[in-house]
């Protein structure tokens, strides 16, 4: 199948996904389950990675800013900008594409090969709407919160790295993160996050839903899902940056 056919099939899938849920109470139940599976269970890895990434960015900036004419508060400023503009929304989304994308693709793919999706269809249930819509809503609702948390923890990680290494003073770092604060950058990051969240929920769902074969194919679909989700995030990141900041 060529790429154009896949893209067409993906949009046809979305048309089925965005139908009115057949029973709101069941939808609500699924939504809470997905918030837990896709959101809350990703909290740990986001906390861990963002804290250390922030620390590394601060240390590397400190090591590279050895010119006495460049003020030390640049470290805090650079860490804040890097975390808000790129590391939190894009880097964390790539991490989530790996963790959540493979989960979505393999869980839906397994349901496909074990005929659980057929069982839903036979009952008269719109399986795409039932399985994918709660995932999209959960991701759109929860990922911005995760990314905001990642921004905060990244900046905090940088601060803590300064205390541990002694490469810069806390006062300089705090002054740096307060300097030239632009709320639009947060908005830009959240817009990106919402779009990436949609991509993370739908591309793996597409790969899982249309899988054919057995467990080997589910594994392959899962790998493909992560690769394609990451590729689409990177491409969208480029265009969105150009559109929103250019």
């Amino acid at each position: 199948m060529n790429y154009i056919e896949h893209i067409g099939k993906y949009f046809i899938m979305l048309k089925q996904v965005f139908k009115k849920p057949q029973k709101w109470s069941v939808f609500k139940e699924m939504l809470f389950r997905e918030i837990e599976d896709l959101g809350l269970k990703s909290l740990g890895i986001i906390v861990f990675i963002s804290f250390f990434v922030g620390g590394v960015v601060a240390i590397q900036t400190a090591l590279n800013v050895d010119n006495p004419f460049i003020p030390k508060y640049t470290i805090g400023f650079a860490t804040k900008r890097s975390m808000i503009l790129e590391f939190a929304p894009t880097f964390m989304s790539i991490i989530l594409a790996g963790k959540v994308g493979s989960y979505i693709s393999s869980s839906i793919g397994t349901m496909r090969v074990t005929e659980q999706i057929d069982a839903l269809e036979v009952m008269g249930i719109n399986s795409l709407n039932y399985l994918v819509l709660p995932k999209i809503i959960a991701a759109l609702f929860f990922y911005p919160l995760l990314i905001l948390l990642a921004m905060f923890l990244g900046i905090f990680g940088g601060y803590y790295a300064g205390i541990l290494t002694g490469l810069f003073y806390s006062e300089d770092y705090i002054y740096g993160i307060q300097l030239d604060f632009n709320p639009y950058f947060i908005r830009y990051a959240l817009i990106k996050t919402l779009i990436f969240a949609f991509v993370i929920a739908t591309i793996p769902a597409y790969h899982g839903y249309y899988v054919k074969g057995g467990s080997l194919e589910v594994g392959r679909a899962s790998t493909q899902a992560v690769v394609w989700t990451s590729v689409v995030i990177i491409l969208l990141n480029y265009f969105l940056t150009q559109m929103l900041l250019g």
């Binding site: 659980q116 057929d118 069982a119 036979v122 008269g124 249930i125």
Partner: protein, 255 residues
């Protein structure tokens, strides 16, 4: 009654069903038999609406499937129950939640009423005290029973079973066969079973359709299968020495 007329279905240029016609009546266990690759699963999936045939008519009590709109399709599907080969139970749900699922989706009942119905069907398939268990904690036979319970929980008019006793030991397989037959009579459903298990065919096959290479090669009952001279079905059913001997004994006795 389910009526199928002149059904054709192909995949990637390979013709799997070649003009199959059949009728399935109420209160009877109808069986579709045939070798692997004969098209019986595709035929069943066409009946269920999971595959769209290229040509042919499938009508459920006078309702032509192809003429129905999406909403009517979904309504018709709510009148169907299906027992899948592997059970197709939802791994993340308990037995109780699995069986309650169609009720939650389509029935306007309180939780207690739904629970009552779940317990009734569980009792009907001879399962008790398994409500809180997950499918992975059950044996193959128990999973099949739960699958049957889920299939009948909405009081369906049509029950479809895809190899309901595959992977089961002979005793459990007979129990499942008899259960399906009893339920069919009790609920007056139209039951269509897809099988290549000859014990099942002999046990409960009130109407048998034999598919060979996508064509209906024979039609009859489990009584007639002993007397038939149709070479295709004789080769298929009596491929084992045991069944050859059984047939010989039957023919000798009936002389």
């Amino acid at each position: 009654m389910i009526e199928v007329k002149n059904l054709y279905k192909e995949f990637d240029g390979i013709q799997v069903l070649k003009g199959v016609s059949a009728t399935f009546e109420k209160g009877k266990t109808n069986m579709i038999i045939g070798q692997s690759g004969s098209g019986k699963t595709v035929f069943l999936k066409c009946l269920l609406g999971l595959h769209t045939p290229e040509k042919g008519i499938i009508s459920f009590d006078g309702r032509n499937y192809a003429d129905l709109k999406t909403k009517q399709h979904r309504q018709l599907r709510q009148e169907m129950g299906m027992v899948f080969q592997g059970g197709a139970l939802y791994d993340s749900l308990t037995v109780e939640e699995n069986i309650m699922f169609p009720l939650k989706m389509f029935a306007d009942k309180t939780f207690d009423e739904m629970l009552d119905r779940v317990n009734t069907v569980l009792k009907r398939v001879n399962l008790e005290n398994v409500n809180a268990k997950f499918p992975a904690e059950l044996s193959g036979g128990m999973q099949k029973r739960v699958s049957i319970a889920r299939a009948i929980v909405m009081n369906p008019k049509y029950l479809f079973c895809d190899e309901p006793n595959s992977g089961l030991d002979p005793i459990t397989a007979t129990v499942i066969d008899n259960l399906i037959q009893e339920i069919t009579k009790e609920y007056q459903m139209i039951t269509v079973i897809n099988s290549h298990d000859m014990n099942s065919v002999m046990e409960i096959g009130e109407k048998i359709i034999f598919l060979k290479d996508g064509v209906k090669a024979w039609e009859g009952s489990n009584k007639e299968i002993f007397k038939t001279e149709n070479q295709a079905i004789v080769d298929f059913v009596y491929s084992s020495n045991l069944f050859k001997k059984v047939r010989q004994v039957y023919l000798n006795e009936s002389k």
